[in-house]
Subunit: 411 residues, 2 copies
């Protein structure tokens, strides 16, 4: 029996409540130039005090050395091993989720780039001169307007602008035959050659190509005289992964409290109810307070630790952690039976990027097993932690256990 099947088999409903607070990219590293991580530098009196009755560990999002994107990083935290193909969130879907678009389980999503081609149809710029978001929005509006009159046959088509030259196309089948995702990218990854025709990698995908192509032709015709972007490429064709839901797997009524669309989208793909809320930790606490009775599991997402890490800004990263610490009493006053604080990956400020480093985990619950750690830091979690080093996809089992939500296995 695999891990998820075992959890599903043992899961039981109780009244206990779990809060999983994700400080995106919180993990950091010491370097010669940065002798303290943000967790080490931050003044966190409330976390420090809670440490006396808590324990630490470390999470590995994918496998040793692998740097995860936000999609795989969160899937792992929610229990879905992201290295298993069926748990993969495609790039088209992730882009659409990041824009806050609504996807049905069968919606086909593609990431698109505006481009320019010459009279012979050869690509002259794969990113349309990196047009501004404003310009991209305008051209998307024109495409959306055209879609109102185009005969789209057995499918419906949506267009949504992204950043700069990027946009998303969403396709939904209007018949009982679903659209297939096994479509090859149309971007040849170089200039001076034509865009690739849309091609299916299987028979079912070829049928999808036939249904989509007439609409794409008309969209291309719409752009024909667009001076800054007279063509577009498509890639990352994908649909939402078919994940067993939190209710089905864990018997949890799960609520997602996240201010940014990507994380809301991933949570929704796992069957969580996505709650409207702001972006700061205080907004999350406010909203969780309002909805406290409605859920057994609260996923709360703080983005700014990751943003500061990406900016190489250890001062802001430290300040965000201190802001979270200030909010901790209000969060604890809600009375969660299990409080876990961790990240979906590390974003070390010296690297200005996601990384492969283990993510520290803070766990507070009645029977978590108090360890000798005195502060929530990377090296306390490495060297003195009671939990040790776990695959991130093991976290859900640990949270359920601490919440008394897993029955004894065997007699």
């Amino acid at each position: 029996m695999n891990r998820l099947d075992l959890l599903r088999q043992q899961a039981q409903t109780t009244e206990s409540k779990i809060v999983l607070l994700i400080l995106d990219g919180v993990g950091d590293i010491r370097t010669i130039e940065q002798p303290q991580t943000a967790l080490e530098a931050a003044r966190t009196p409330h976390l420090d005090q809670l440490c006396e009755s808590s324990c630490l560990g470390r999470l590995i999002p994918a496998t040793t050395g692998i740097t995860p994107g936000s999609g795989p990083g969160h899937l792992a935290l929610f229990g879905y091993d992201p290295t298993i193909g069926k748990h993969d969130i495609g790039r088209g879907v992730l882009e659409a989720l990041g824009l806050g678009l609504d996807l049905a389980p069968s919606t086909l999503a593609a990431r698109c780039n505006f481009a320019t081609v010459d009279d012979q149809g050869n690509i002259t710029d794969r990113r349309a001169g990196r047009i501004s978001s404003e310009e991209g929005h305008c051209i998307c509006d024109r495409l959306a307007h055209a879609l109102e009159t185009i005969d789209t046959g057995s499918i419906s088509v949506r267009v949504a602008p992204g950043e700069g030259y990027r946009f998303v196309l969403l396709f939904d089948s209007l018949t009982s035959t679903p659209l297939n995702t096994n479509l090859a990218d149309t971007d040849p990854q170089r200039i001076g050659v034509p865009l690739l025709p849309l091609a299916g990698e299987t028979e079912a995908a070829s049928a999808t190509v036939q249904r989509i192509t007439p609409v794409l032709d008309q969209l291309r015709a719409t752009l024909k005289n667009e001076p800054k972007a007279n063509a577009f490429s498509m890639r990352g064709f994908s649909s939402l992964p078919d994940l067993p839901s939190f209710q089905d797997l864990y018997q949890l009524r799960a609520g997602a409290f996240a201010g940014y669309p990507l994380y809301r989208g991933v949570a929704k793909a796992c069957g969580m109810e996505v709650v409207e809320c702001g972006k700061r930790i205080a907004d999350l606490t406010d909203t969780m307070t309002e909805r406290w009775d409605d859920f057994d599991f609260f996923f709360a997402h703080v983005k700014h630790t990751d943003q500061a890490g990406e900016d190489g800004d250890i001062v802001t990263k430290t300040a965000v952690i201190e802001e979270v610490d200030q909010e901790l009493p209000r969060l604890l006053a809600l009375g969660p039976d299990v409080l876990a604080i961790t990240g979906d990956h590390s974003t070390p400020a010296p690297m200005k990027a996601h990384s492969w480093h283990p993510v520290p985990l803070f766990l507070h619950a009645q029977f978590c097993g108090i360890d000798d750690t005195v502060r929530f830091t990377e090296l306390e979690a490495a060297a003195k932690a009671g939990i040790g080093r776990l695959p991130a996809s093991d976290l859900m089992g640990l949270l359920l256990a601490n919440a008394g939500k897993l029955a004894k296995f065997g007699a």
Copy 2:
């Protein structure tokens, strides 16, 4: 997706360089009689200083409690989980590699023991009275001489002397039908009974038996009147494992700098270029300096730590570590982006043998994440290390990540 497939998918070429310095069997243990390990006893000023900007961890070669031989130990370090059957290096092949013999991918190798049998053909000594290496060499010369005139049919046969009563037979097919390795040992493991006839465990193997047996009969006839060794047994039939190469898996141009044949052979089986060099650490540095531009990955192998451990000689083991430390400045002057120092297994001096104990790992790189360890020792690596305890086959992922050679996984 398994770990190697994931690494292969994410691997990217960069200009960074990785040095993996293996101190064979470096790990040791404290006992009542030996209160310090060699790493603890050694004066290592350069390693100590480098520790300030490095981190430690521990590697488990196979799985808890398993003592690996040199073959599995090195395969694990190179990323190939040695407990997976297809990564197994057979004993015949390992013996041949240890003697520095050239093997084609399809060469069939067997470890052989000279033995003695009585007039009825029953074994009287399974090791031919433990004849000396000199005597073994002489008898092998006679076999080689006989092979020059024997009609070997559709195969070619080579003989090579090993230590004492040991030797190796190598068989290559001269047709397009390869030789099969599923052959049972011919040593009945006791005396007073005949040697077992060569027997195939599958149909293809039975065909191999038919092709080999006539040659073996003639070799046996050659020995008939040999007083000290009138027979021989065969075991460990095997060919080189079909390992994906370092280039294919990791996009690495890998060079092996090892003075002893076994390690050169294992490296070659992984697709490394084997560079001629001496056996001391200074020889390795000299040769790596000459070839610095030719590789992205440098496997350097120091044997003497293991030899001293096998001899129970903690003083020599300590001295070898000090010799390596003295060479460290020259190694660092080459400018490796990632330097890892570890062993393929522990060879504790009190045990005079390989052991199952975790092997300490020293890692130095820009973003390795400096930890609180102050010396490279077994117990620092156990109790204060930033990396923690990893399967040895996870090491390559860690090295590639630290070298910036793994793309982000997912968006």
